[in-house]
């Protein structure tokens, strides 16, 4: 992990206007370093997915700024945002959302083809990535021929296709059993270490969150606690409301 900030978030606010105003994210300030392995936790409806979607340029903030690699991406047009998502961001969701008609290999090739890479380059890169997620024997299997954990690994490989600055995961083990979840987290951890890949993961599973370097707790759209890894445990920030999760995290 370097000292350089890859993401700088300032006063980020999102208000949903569906008849009544709902403050989903409330003035969040956050810096994320290159190569960081970060978890965002919180009860449902706390705004963690909204925050993640804004960081992932899938959603636009009501106010505030997000700087990705020193570029203010909040001002980008829809097409520019699509390009940023393709080149700088990788996504893994709760459900893998692989294209059912495409093989594992072809699914991983898509972000590369969108980026304008030719098929041979894309195929070689996809093979390399599927090898990294230990699926080199399933290259030509379609999603319905793979287990949930295998599909999620394909999704991870797809997220890494264009060597993005940040990979975003939203409850990415939500559909998997504990054993498979652990394997996926170990895989992400390994990729984080080997490739210095930045990960931002939203989860409500504290056990998973504990495997990261930093845990942010979000309640009502605000960061109410920050825990930083030190050795095997975590140091918490001065003010910290861990709510119902209090006591489950090993602290130094």
């Amino acid at each position: 992990m370097s000292d350089k900030n890859i993401i700088e978030i300032r006063d980020l606010t999102k208000i949903y206007k569906n008849g009544v105003d709902v403050l989903a994210v409330d003035g969040v300030n956050l810096d994320i370093k290159e190569g960081e392995f970060l978890a965002i936790v919180g009860p449902s409806g706390s705004g963690k997915s909204t925050l993640l979607n804004m960081i992932g340029l899938l959603d636009t903030p009501t106010s505030g700024t997000i700087r990705l690699k020193d570029v203010d991406v909040t001002k980008a047009t829809p097409d520019e945002r699509a390009r940023f998502r393709n080149k700088e961001l990788g996504f893994v969701f709760q459900y893998h959302h692989l294209i059912p008609e495409f093989s594992a290999m072809e699914n991983v090739m898509i972000p590369l083809l969108i980026a304008g890479k030719n098929k041979d380059v894309a195929r070689a890169r996809a093979q390399e990535l599927l090898d990294k997620v230990n699926l080199n024997d399933k290259l030509n299997n379609r999603p319905n021929q793979l287990s949930g954990g295998q599909n999620q690994r394909v999704a991870v490989a797809r997220a890494l296709a264009n060597s993005p600055s940040v990979v975003i995961g939203d409850e990415l083990t939500g559909n998997l059993d504990t054993k498979t979840s652990n394997l996926i987290y170990e895989l992400l951890r390994e990729l984080n270490r080997k490739l210095d890949q930045t990960f931002i993961l939203v989860t409500h599973d504290m056990h998973m969150a504990e495997k990261t370097d930093r845990i942010l707790r979000l309640v009502d759209g605000k960061i109410v606690c920050e825990l930083k890894r030190q050795g095997d445990g975590f140091i918490e920030s001065k003010v910290c409301d861990l709510g119902e999760d209090n006591g489950k995290i090993r602290r130094v």
Binding site: A82, R85, I99, E101, I110
Partner: protein
């Protein structure tokens, strides 16, 4: 070009949706091909049965003149036109005929049988006798078959024909059946005999012209009238009803095709919307991994476009098949057009091109709206992770 790859996979994986779209477009194209072929065939048959039974152009006397005097010059002028394949001067007058105690009103046509044969192929309509004999036998006459019946006259009988105060005795040498009302009034005699009976000298009352291509006749007629000062009419003018009928039919057909386009378009659009609905999460994911809105739109338009060609080709086969099946059944159309007893099929090669263009346009235009809907999806809502 990942859009094309995704579109191709959508088509091959969604067999039912693909089949539904292809069949809808094929049926629409088939109906249009069938309608085009049958309309064209029937139109041609009506034209043949009416237009081809008359000269394509008839040149009549100048205004305030009863007859054409120096008709040989005009005849030469008309013959010199490229596309004019037959020119026949005729002296047509209304008179009467008597056989024994029976008298009937007649349309007496004096003609030069060799020229008239080239113009109207009269011999083919003759039930008895030889048309070319009129050229040499001044006292021969060919009677409409119904007129002969009314006069109770048979070939070989002598018949008296009258014009104003003049009369002539002619011998029935043949009978003609044209299949029109003229069968009960027509009398063909040689031009010389008719001129003698009329008593106006070497004159005719009209000159008939046959063109290589009858559609050129109206143009030539419009060109001839001011230069010759004669009254010139093409089949369009003296068959005004028919050309109006054909024009109306063409307009009705256009409306009919538009309706087919709309109906099929809605069905295809609906199928595509269903596909977009089912693929919502996938579209959201494609957007998340960087597909632009225009790429998403391109995927669904390409998908529909790729189906256009096979659907069009299938439709052409379906249409030809149905049209041939319909055309092989005799349908009595004689009330609508004389002599039309079957629906005729005339599939011109350009209809195939029209049908393919129709299929492609149909597929593109019915995909635009669903594709637009897909491209405007909000990725967060589409993925629906929460």
């Amino acid at each position: 070009m990942f859009e094309l790859e995704v579109a191709k996979r959508h088509i091959t994986s969604n067999r039912r949706g693909t089949a539904f779209t292809v069949l809808t477009v094929a049926v629409a194209v088939g109906v249009i091909i069938m309608s085009l072929g049958l309309t064209e065939g029937t139109k041609n048959q009506i034209i043949e049965n009416t237009v081809e039974k008359n000269p394509h152009i008839v040149l009549g006397p100048k205004q305030n003149e009863g007859y054409i005097h120096l008709y040989r010059n005009i005849e030469r002028l008309l013959s010199s036109y490229p596309g004019a394949i037959a020119v026949s001067p005729r002296l047509v007058v209304q008179g009467a005929a008597r056989h024994k105690d029976k008298v009937e009103g007649i349309e007496l046509v004096g003609l030069e049988s060799d020229k008239e044969e080239r113009l109207m192929q009269v011999q083919g309509n003759l039930l008895a006798g030889n048309f070319s004999e009129l050229k040499f036998k001044k006292k021969y006459a060919i009677l409409g078959v119904k007129l002969a019946e009314k006069l109770d006259a048979r070939p070989g009988n002598d018949v008296y024909i009258y014009f104003r105060n003049n009369s002539a005795k002619v011998s029935v040498s043949g009978l003609i059946e044209k299949g029109t009302a003229k069968d009960s009034s027509l009398v063909y005699i040689s031009l010389k005999t008719a001129q003698n009976l009329v008593g106006e000298g070497d004159v005719v009352s009209e000159i008939g012209v046959r063109m290589e291509d009858y559609t050129e006749a109206p143009v030539l007629a419009r060109d001839l009238e001011p230069t010759t000062k004669y009254n010139v009419e093409s089949w369009q003018e003296f068959n005004r009803e028919i050309s109006r009928f054909i024009g109306t039919q063409n307009r009705i057909n256009v409306i009919f095709y538009l309706l087919i386009f709309l109906i099929a378009g809605f069905v295809v659009a609906n199928t595509t919307i269903m596909i977009v609905r089912r693929k919502t999460k996938e579209i959201g994911m494609l957007m998340a991994i960087g597909a632009t809105r225009s790429s998403i739109m391109e995927i669904f338009i390409l998908e529909s476009l790729l189906l256009g060609l096979p659907a069009g080709l299938l439709g052409i086969l379906v249409g030809i098949g149905f049209a041939q099946a319909i055309a092989s059944y005799p349908i009595d159309m004689s009330s609508a057009a004389s002599g039309v007893t079957m629906l005729m099929l005339d599939l011109r090669p350009e209809f195939i091109i029209y049908a393919l263009i129709f299929a492609l346009l149909l597929n593109i235009s019915s995909a635009v709206y669903p594709a637009y809907l897909a491209s405007r999806l909000d990725p967060v809502e589409a993925i629906g992770n929460e």
